[in-house]
């Protein structure tokens, strides 16, 4: 079976999206964690920023990017005719 150009385009877009979201995931976890001591001197709504991020903020970011991925991929499926039920 030969993949069409459209299919390759779909996969490329998926990879781009995945990479961008993984970069956000990486920054909000590991970059934040690495600089936790520096960030602890900044305050956010009563919390030291690094404590807030580790206890809540990063988790909220995870939720948002997973939600965004599901939504964008659904749109992409429909746009490229690869959604289930389209065969």
């Amino acid at each position: 079976m030969q993949l069409t150009e459209k299919h390759t385009e779909y996969w490329r877009k998926n990879l781009n999206l995945t990479l961008i979201l993984l970069a956000i995931w990486f920054v909000s976890t590991f970059v934040m964690g690495f600089f936790a001591r520096e960030l602890a001197t900044i305050y956010f709504a009563g919390w030291p920023l690094s404590f807030y991020m580790a206890a809540q903020g990063s988790m909220i970011i995870y939720l948002v990017i997973i939600w965004y991925y599901a939504r964008t991929m659904k749109k992409l499926d429909d746009e490229f005719g690869v959604a289930e039920g389209d065969e």
Partner: protein, 703 residues
């Protein structure tokens, strides 16, 4: 046909919504009824029993209603679990006794550094969502070894996958059964071993008759109980200290008060006095260790002499008994003495330390800036390593990944990851709040009180288990100092209802919640092990002609065998729960992540690469654990000093940090050195990448 299926899914969803709404309402009514009975004078033990048996009977009822002999129903719940319900099921599958009971306590004791567990156990779902769940769902068979077998052509990869899945899940399930035993015995007063087997019965009624279908619907029910049980006490405690019932939003201000209080307590002269006493005890113990063997010989002789003297002088009986007890407790050998006294040096030094600043990342108490920097650096490294191991482990644990086979479509699988994390989030963003609120309560309401005025729960828990809570008047001033309090990790969640001043019925509810968390995780894990054996090993490799009836029969028998084996191992209680859990994560991360992710994203990956990656990853991780973890070192008789076996100061809990990259590198190198996979495999990869593909000839959906 598609339209008909969508509307039947819709109807099914509405039906489920109705059932679980009634169920939640019924449960709340049950709670209120028990609260009223308590006010009318129902004894506490009865409340404990009622919770235990009512909830297990409930799970059994769901289990029996969900019994099935259909293969797709038995292995993947008919592949029609709506995203949000699969999210709840994954949530309770995911949150184990360690999350429910231990997590807030770990955060209390470790402050910022404990948040590694919060981050690691949630952020892993990003990897599940982006790299694994949608592709596994498209593949659409039953187990993780199924995927490995199909992608890496044949039984060799499947077989190694079966071994890894069993190793990981078995280690994890033993930890869960230990948790079940602890909760059952603590709240009903039965012996730990009896508790283990009672819990086992609870696990089996959920999964035995209906496999994945029964496990799914009991897990949803268990999620509802555990989240109610967790949130009620936290919300109440928040009202007590801030007047606002949203602990997660308002505890920032409480954290500031805790920080101020820490500073006061560090400078307080009475606190210093107590800490100095412990420092002196540590010095004394050190002197005894340094004086070995002479100190041991003399100490023993002195103890014997004293017994003889008292006897000869006909001293009061109580004094004689005390002297005899002292002699009996005296270390029997020089080696025992060294172990005991070295332990005393460490524990007394720990108690001589001022309170840990709760918010401060990577805290060091060293005054020498070079040493302090080194310690902070070590803590930061381990913090990041632990997060990575837990995250990648999350995306590699078979009992979690299996859940994404059960959704009706790829799109639902993606949505379902969101709901899973949301359900987990509800508990995980409350746990740090709980830790801070309890800390504030203890720092302000317990510390500084007269011993005579301590609330009743202190004495009650002290009696249950002094390792959970013990307060002793070390400097004999009649007032509680913070340094006089020793807390065990589990007490934070277990005692919160009493700290918040809630009726006993809520304590029973918390126990039921902990039990639900442990049972639901154990269910999922047992099913994973039994399926790996019955589906992958027996049906796919030994007897491919087995009838569906025989396959399910086989799975049920194996479920029973594995369950009993796990309970037997748990009753022997080999190591602490947290280490077992973390070990399972590291092993899974090192074993499965590379073959699963590269299998989808890199067409060139082949079976030689995958098999060697799994073997190298798991072996290296296990080697590191075996040579650096206290209990495993004992088992394998490792005598080389730990310092020599430790690489870059990484703690054994994060052993996967070495296994993971080793597996990825091995996989890439070996794949490139061996022939590329055939055209069929390439087409398989394309098949899983697209939710649907025109002209696709590959069929993988299992029946």
């Amino acid at each position: 046909m598609m339209g008909a299926q969508v509307s039947s899914n819709r109807a099914f969803y509405n039906q489920l919504k109705k059932y679980y709404t009634y169920y939640t309402g019924g449960f709340l009514v049950f709670l209120v009824a028990l609260a009223i009975l308590e006010q009318l004078g129902m004894p506490r033990v009865w409340i404990g029993y009622t919770f235990l048996f009512a909830t297990i009977a409930l799970y059994a009822g769901i289990g029996i209603m969900s019994r099935t002999a259909d293969v797709a129903e038995y292995y993947v719940a008919g592949r029609r679990v709506p995203a949000i319900f699969n999210g709840m099921a994954t949530g309770s599958d995911w949150m184990s006794a360690a999350s429910f009971i231990g997590m807030a306590g770990a955060l209390y004791l470790q402050g910022f550094d404990g948040l590694a567990f919060i981050l690691g156990w949630t952020g892993g779902y990003c990897l599940v969502a982006f790299l694994i769940a949608p592709y596994l769902r498209k593949f659409g068979q039953f187990t993780i070894p199924d995927f490995l077998g199909a992608r890496y052509g044949g039984n060799a990869a499947r077989f190694v996958g079966v071994l890894v899945a069993i190793l990981v899940s078995f280690v994890y399930v033993v930890a869960q059964i230990v948790g079940v035993g602890l909760i059952t015995s603590r709240f009903t007063g039965v012996a730990f071993e009896v508790g283990v087997f009672l819990g086992l019965a609870g696990i089996l009624v959920c999964s035995f008759l209906g496999g994945m279908r029964a496990v799914t619907w009991t897990q949803v029910a268990q999620y509802i109980i555990l989240i109610i049980a967790y949130l009620i006490p936290v919300v109440w405690l928040s009202v007590k200290h801030t007047g606002i019932p949203l602990p997660q939003i308002v505890y920032g201000s409480v954290l500031q008060k805790v920080t101020e209080r820490e500073k006061q307590l560090t400078a307080d002269p009475k606190e210093k006095e107590v800490r100095d006493i412990f420092r002196q005890r540590a010095v004394d113990a050190k002197a005894r260790v340094d004086g070995l063997p002479g100190t041991w010989v003399e100490g023993r002789a002195a103890a014997e002499r004293r017994v003889a003297e008292l006897k000869a002088a006909n001293a009061p009986l109580a004094e004689q008994r005390a002297a005899e007890k002292h002699l009996a407790d005296f270390p029997r050998t020089e080696a025992d003495a060294r172990r005991l006294w070295s332990g005393q040096v460490t524990s007394n030094n720990a108690r001589a330390a001022p309170p840990l600043p709760h918010y401060e990342p990577f805290y060091s108490a060293h005054t020498d800036p070079v040493k302090a920097d080194a310690e902070r650096d070590r803590k930061r490294k381990n913090f990041l390593a632990l997060i990575l191991c837990l995250m990648v482990g999350t995306a590699s644990l078979p009992h979690i990944l299996m859940r994404y086979y059960t959704t009706p479509s790829v799109q639902e699988a993606r949505k379902s990851v969101f709901w899973s994390l949301f359900c987990i989030f509800l508990l995980y963003f409350s746990a740090p709040a709980l830790a801070v609120l309890v800390k504030f309560d203890i720092y302000t309401l317990i510390v500084g009180k007269n011993f005579a005025d301590l609330p009743g729960w202190v004495a009650a828990w002290q009696k249950v288990d002094p390792r959970l809570l013990s307060i002793t008047d070390v400097n004999k001033d009649g007032v509680v100092q913070l340094a006089e309090i020793v807390l065990g990790q589990d007490i934070i969640v277990l005692a919160t209802p009493e700290i918040a001043g809630l009726p006993y019925v809520i304590s029973g509810l918390v126990a039921a919640g902990g039990l639900a968390a442990a049972l639901s995780t154990a269910d999922g894990l047992l099913l994973t092990v039994a399926n790996a054996l019955s589906h992958d090993l027996y049906y796919k490799m030994i007897n491919p002609n087995a009838s569906t009836q025989k396959r399910i029969m086989m799975s049920k028998i194996l479920l029973l065998v594995v369950a009993i084996l796990a309970a037997y191992t748990a009753a022997a209680a080999p190591a602490d729960i947290l280490f077992l859990v973390a070990a399972a994560f590291s092993l899974a991360a090192a074993g499965f992540f590379a073959p699963l992710v590269l299998g989808v994203f890199w067409k060139r990956a082949n079976k030689y690469g995958a098999i060697s990656a799994m073997i190298v990853g798991v072996t290296l991780t296990f080697y590191y654990q075996a040579t650096t973890q206290v209990w495993l070192r004992g088992v394998f008789g490792v005598t080389t000093p730990v310092a020599e076996m430790t690489w870059w100061d990484i703690a054994p809990i994060s052993a996967g940090i070495f296994g993971m990259p080793a597996a990825i590198i091995t996989m890439v190198v070996v794949s490139l050195l061996t022939p590329a996979p055939d055209k069929q495999t390439q087409e398989f990869v394309e098949h899983v990448r697209y939710p649907s593909l025109k002209g696709d000839t590959v069929v993988t959906l299992g029946t």
